[in-house]
Amino acid sequence: MSIARVDWKKVWAPGSLLIIILVLLATLSLYASTYTVILLTSILMYVVLTVSWVIFSAPTGYVSLAPAAFFGVGIYTSAILGKALPLPAVILAGGLASFCLALLVGALTLRLRGIYFAIFTFGLVELIKHLLLWYEIKFTGTRGRFVIVVDNDTIYHVMFAILVILLLTAYLIRRSKFGLALRSIGEYEDAAAHTGVNVDALKTVTFAISAVFIGAAGAIMATRWTYIDPYIAFNPLFSFMPVLMAIFGGMGQFSGPILGAAIFGYLEEVLLTKFPYYYMLIFGIILIVTILYLPEGLVGLVQKLWRRISGGKRAHAGG
C-alpha cells in the first residue's frame, strides 16, 4: 500500500546504481580476499544494526538503547540451538527470540512517556547479562558456551541476506500508511491517536519488527566468535554504535544510516588495529560533536550544502 506513486524517471539512476552495488556485494566472495569478506561482514552487520534502529527510533523519536540486548539474545540463541538445528532455523530463532523480547518491552514501556522506554532499554543489556550469569553459575556450572563453526563466506552471505530483507522491510514500512503514522507519532502522538492511529500497538509492533533483524544478525555473528559468554554477548557497545552511526550519518533518509555504518564500521576496524585503547574515546567525542553541531547528520549537511549551491528552495524530499 503506497502513499505516493514512484516517479520512475527520478528513480532509475540511483536505482540501477543500487542494483549494481547489491550485485557486487552478493558476489563478493568470488573475487575478494578473506580479509575483505570478514571486514565487509562487520560493516554489513553494523548497517543492519543501524538501519534497524532507525526504523523505529527515527520517525517516532523514542530513543531505544536496546540493540545490544537484542544482539545478545540472538548470539545466545545461536549458541544454545546451534548444534540442534540447521543454520537457517537458528537465524530465524534468533530473530524470533528478539521479537518476543521486544514485544514484551514494548508492551510494558511504550504506553508511558518516552523517557521510561529509554531508561528500560538502557538497563536491559545489563539485566539480561546478570540473569544469564546467575543461571550459568547456578545451573550449568560453566560460564559461556561454544558456538558451532561456520565458514566466513556463509556468514557473509547470511548477513547480506539479512540486510537485503531489512532494507526491503524498511522501505515498505516507510512507504506505507504505517510509515506515515509512525512519523505522526513522532510529531504529535496524541493527535495521531485522535486521528485513529492505535499508537501503542503500532509502536510496539514496529519496535518488535526492528528487533528481529538485530537478533538474526547476532545469531549469525556468534558463529564467528566460536566462544561466547554473557560478557561478550551483552556489550553496551552494540547499543552505542548504531546510535552513533545513525546520528552521524543522518536519520532523514536511508542513505544516512548506511553511510554512517559504513564509515564507522571501517573506522572501528582501522582504529582497533592502530589505537585499540583510544577508539571508544574518539567515537564518544564524535557523537557529542555530532549532536551539538551536526544535528541532521552527514547526509543532512550534504543536502543543505547542495540546496545552497543549486540555489532556491527545493521541494521537501519525502524519501
Partner: protein, 289 residues
C-alpha cells in the same frame, strides 16, 4: 536467627545509604537540569579509582580524599554542563528534544570517561584495605569501613537535604526544578543553577564512589551497573523528587540485601522486577507528581 535478620537489615541499610547518595545526585541532574545523565556511574567510578590511587600511591586517607574528590567532581560537572548541556539546551527545539539529545550526549560521555579510566588505570580490579576492623554491633560483626560508609552517606544526604530546604541557593534550586521559566522571571539565574545542580550531582556521585571503594574492590567498568541502580531508585522515588530518591535508595538497598541473602547474583534482577512493577502500577513513583 535474630542475628541473621539484623545482619541482613544492616547490610541493607549500608547498601541503601550508598544507593540513596548516588540516586540523589542523579535526581538533582534530572529533576532540575532535566539531563538524564547515563554517565553518572562513570563519575562514581572515577571517585572510586581516584581514591584508590591517592591511597596506594600517596597514602592519603580515603576520608580526606572525600574532600578532594567531591570538589573536583563538582567543578568537572559544572564545566561539562556549561560547555555541553547548556549549548544543547539552546539548540534544542523543545524540552522533549533536549531530553533525548542530552541523554544521547551523556551516552557519548559514558564511553569517553570509561575509555579514559581504562587508559589511566587499566582494566584490572583494584582494591585496598582501610579500617577493615570489625566492630561489634548488637552481636553481629561489621567492618568499621562499612559503618563509616553508612554514616557518611546519611550525613551527606541529610546535609544536602537541609541545604535544599534552608538556604537561599537551595530554594532557588527547588524553584528552578518546579518551574524554570517562572524562577527565571523571579530573578533566579537559571543557567547558573542548572550548572550548579549538575556539578552537585557529579560531586555526590564521586563521593559515593569513594565510599564504595572503601567497602568493595573497584575497576573501570563498574559505572554502568550503578547508573542503572541510580535510575531505578530515582523512578522508585519519583522522577524529580529528591527526598523520594533518598528514601527509595534505602528501600532498594534493603531489598537488595534480602535478595542477596537468598540468591546472590539476582539483586539487579530484583531491582528490575521492582522497576517493572512500578511501570505497571505507578510510574510516577512513591513521591512523584
Amino acid at each position: 536467627m535474630i542475628v541473621t535478620i539484623l545482619d541482613v537489615v544492616i547490610a541493607g541499610l549500608l547498601l541503601g545509604g550508598l544507593y540513596a547518595l548516588i540516586a540523589m545526585g542523579l535526581s538533582l541532574q534530572y529533576g532540575v537540569a532535566r539531563v538524564l545523565n547515563i554517565s553518572h556511574g562513570e563519575f562514581i567510578m572515577l571517585g572510586a579509582l581516584t581514591t584508590w590511587s591517592l591511597f596506594t600511591a600517596f597514602h592519603i586517607n580515603p576520608l580526606v580524599s572525600l574532600a578532594i574528590c567531591g570538589p573536583v567532581a563538582f567543578v568537572l560537572g559544572f564545566v561539562i554542563h556549561r560547555t555541553l548541556f547548556k549549548r544543547l539546551l539552546s539548540s534544542s527545539a523543545s524540552p522533549g528534544v533536549f531530553e533525548s539529545n542530552s541523554m544521547l550526549a551523556s551516552f557519548g560521555l559514558l564511553f569517553i570517561i570509561q575509555n579514559i579510566a581504562l587508559i589511566a588505570w587499566g582494566p584490572e580490579i583494584r582494591g585496598y584495605s582501610y579500617l577493615r576492623v570489625p566492630v561489634n554491633l548488637a552481636g553481629a560483626l561489621f567492618g568499621a569501613n562499612r559503618l563509616i560508609t553508612l554514616g557518611f552517606a546519611i550525613v551527606i544526604g541529610l546535609a544536602f537535604y537541609l541545604f535544599l530546604a534552608r538556604t537561599r541557593l537551595g530554594k532557588a534550586i527547588r524553584a528552578a526544578a518546579q518551574d524554570p521559566t517562572t524562577a527565571g522571571l523571579m530573578g533566579v539565574n537559571i543557567n547558573l543553577v542548572l550548572a550548579l545542580c549538575f556539578g552537585f550531582g557529579a560531586a555526590m556521585a564521586s563521593m559515593a564512589g569513594m565510599l564504595i571503594s572503601l567497602c568493595y574492590p573497584v575497576h573501570a567498568v563498574i559505572g554502568l551497573e550503578y547508573t542503572i541502580i541510580a535510575i531505578i531508585v530515582v523512578v522508585l522515588g519519583g522522577l524529580g523528587s529528591i527526598p523520594g530518591s533518598f528514601i527509595g535508595g534505602f528501600i532498594l538497598g534493603l531489598i537488595g540485601s534480602i535478595v542477596t541473602y537468598f540468591e546472590p547474583g539476582l539483586a539487579l534482577a530484583a531491582y528490575y522486577a521492582i522497576f517493572i512493577l512500578l511501570l505497571l502500577v505507578r510510574p510516577t513513583g512513591l513521591m512523584g507528581k
